[in-house]
Subunit: 142 residues, 2 copies
Amino acid sequence: FMGAGSEIEEGSRLEPRFDASGTIPCITVDAETGEVLMVAYMNREALDQTIRTGLATYYSRSRKKLWVKGEESGFVQHVREVRVDCDQDCILIRVSVEGGASCHVGYRSCFYRRLKPGSSSELEFVYPEKVFDPRKVYRPSS
Amino acid sequence: FMGAGSEIEEGSRLEPRFDASGTIPCITVDAETGEVLMVAYMNREALDQTIRTGLATYYSRSRKKLWVKGEESGFVQHVREVRVDCDQDCILIRVSVEGGASCHVGYRSCFYRRLKPGSSSELEFVYPEKVFDPRKVYRPSS
């Protein structure tokens, strides 16, 4: 049987298993409601900084640098709890979000669309409206 | 500004962006409570089969094959909703779980441990007990 009783799964020590590129996925949920807000990636430094500062800090795989969530938009995520999954290859953090939005498109959550019932390709929007207008929040990248 | 108003982010068509290895991460949450249960991966075939059959089907990157959740344990996941995130590189499904457990270790959720407050490495267990005993549910692999 796969790994039952192993230290990774049953132990009390955080030993995150970063992938070949040195990152681990992180699911970010609302500390109050448990709603999934976003998924991003952390490297060792981002995870350490998140734990040390209490501010959600990710690693941008495209820009190849650390990224303190909200540093530009102001929608900072205060970390209330850090969890890890059974085989320690995924992190979950529970956060309180300043301003109440975590998606750069303007919605509370990045998961603002769902498949229409009965369709295999057509999406419908979940939230009645955006929390903010990204054109007013983000500076032009000129 | 990155991609605001793009078809991927604002459109109504599911266009999942599988990674270089042909997979996409999937967050699985309880349809009733929204609690995160597990994270696994899907390839195109697993996603199509999940949508077509209504039973959560993943792709095992280690065993390199499709995997209908619960096919061995009986803890089948009935899919109530399929969501996608803003840049369509992550799937989220809302499921009802037969038997009430989604982690092979025996807990309701794979995220059964959290960092102890104030510690950067010591974990504590979240749930008072397991839902099932994996030694009684899984057959020996011999």
